[in-house]
Amino acid sequence: MDLIRQQMAIVIPALNAGFLQTMRLFFVTLLGAIPLGLLIAMGSMSKIKPLQMLVKIVVWIVRGSPLMIQLLIIYYFPGLVWKTPIWGGGEGGRFLAASVAFIFNYACYFSEIYRGGIQSIPVGQEEAGLVLGMTKRQIFFKVKLLQMIKAIVPPMSNEIITLVKDTSLSRIIALQEIIWAGQAFMKGSQGISGAIWPLFFTAVYYLACNGILTVLLGRLEKKLSYFK
């Protein structure tokens, strides 16, 4: 225990730095995937059949294969096959590649949630708006949007909490997030080697983060429970 107490002074700042990178990837993914998901959802509901088919196939591939493989392909493929490493070297390049992989992957999941939310609204809502002389735009913003948000909050909460944990997959391309930071002390870093507890300790960060998110998302859900 004494040893761990000594190591803490070195380990905690390193884990904090890793967690900062984890959080960066988390927020960038949300920021990108939430709007991109809407675009994909519209594509998958498009009246243009070939577009609809194409989008559905892409969504199937992205949802049907491991995110870890997608990360590896997106990061290494351009350099290995096209001989043009588009991501650039270093941590910045890895972060860019990881962001692209995560945004695209999560946008596909979100798109299916949005689609479910949009389709869960009874057609009578639109018809009621139409006979009251509303425009399609007014019907979307004044009638459907809030009902849609209410419908998607619980499944989105699940995905968001999964995303916090999934960021750890970016370890596979050596992004310096919290798992990478913890593992460093096994191999040896800043005079500490063979220590496995920092890696175990990373779980505390994920738990704390998801605890906060659970409370916040739960509040949002409760706020929307005034109607059915």
Partner: protein
């Protein structure tokens, strides 16, 4: 009296199935028309055509003598045109279709508020207009016997109360003709009465109404004219006493006999 509504030769098919086969009728201002007939006879589709939820394939619709729809004229079928013209009609749905995130009062006010925004003087008179619309909506809810329910959300109301809010909502825009699509079919029998009562009161006030219903006693009571539809056609029409007591057509006789037995 001049006809408020004239419908001429309306036809509507879905795929290869012709649902409405050459429907023509007219009605006078302040009168009540009941449409009866078995399920699938085209009653609901006819109402939906009048409210432009379906576009007739053929035919003409006039309100106050003004041509508001002509299937031949594609300009009259554009979305903006339809939006203006459908305000001649109001529609009360079988399943209410209230907006769940709004209170009873907000449900009644919403459409009128959105329309007010299109007025040139909206910016200067915003508060005043809002107050006018709110008073109008409150008066309508009072007329429906729902003054104490203004602040309730639809899920806090009974089916009968929901339907009365929906009627107030449809009345808010002062439609020339108010249509009801089986307004009591989704209600428990004990809640049917309260909805029929407010429709009766509307008839007393000479609201022009078209009511599609399976409530035969009510149709007979409230209507000035009854139309019996069968297989997409108007099979028989006339004053209620005539149609119900001495139906001329065999199909009408059969239909009414089944109701008496049931």
């Amino acid at each position: 009296m001049a006809a408020i509504l004239e419908v001429e030769h309306i036809r509507k098919s879905f795929g290869n199935t012709e649902i409405l086969k050459d429907i023509s009728f007219s009605m006078d201002k302040g009168s009540t028309l009941s449409i009866i007939g078995s399920s699938g006879s085209g009653k609901t589709t006819l109402l939906r055509c009048l409210n432009f939820l379906e576009t007739p394939d053929e035919g003409i619709i006039r309100v106050h003598g003004e041509l508001i729809f002509n299937a031949q004229d594609h300009a009259s079928r554009s979305e903006a045109e339809i939006r203006k013209r459908r305000l001649h009609f109001g529609l009360v749905f079988q399943s209410f279709n209230l907006f769940p995130q709004y209170t009873a009062l907000q449900n009644v006010m919403l459409a009128e508020e959105l329309l007010a925004r299109e007025r040139a003087d909206y910016k200067e008179r915003r508060k005043e207009l809002h107050a006018e619309i709110e008073n109008h909506a409150k008066a309508l809810l009072a007329q429906m016997g729902l003054s104490d329910r203004e602040g309730n959300y639809p899920h806090q109301l009974s089916g009968g109360q929901c339907q009365r809010v929906a009627i107030a909502r449809a009345l808010a825009l002062n439609p020339d003709i108010l249509c009801f699509d089986e307004p009591t079919s989704a209600l428990d029998p004990e809640l049917t009465g309260e909805v029929l009562k407010v429709i009766r009161e509307l008839a007393m006030r000479n609201t022009t109404m078209i009511i599609v219903t399976h409530e035969m006693a009510f149709a007979r009571d409230v209507a000035d004219t009854v139309i019996f539809m069968d297989d997409g056609r108007i099979c028989e029409q006339g004053n209620p006493a005539e149609v119900f007591n001495n139906p001329k057509e065999l199909r009408t006789q059969q239909f009414l006999a089944r109701y008496r037995e049931g």
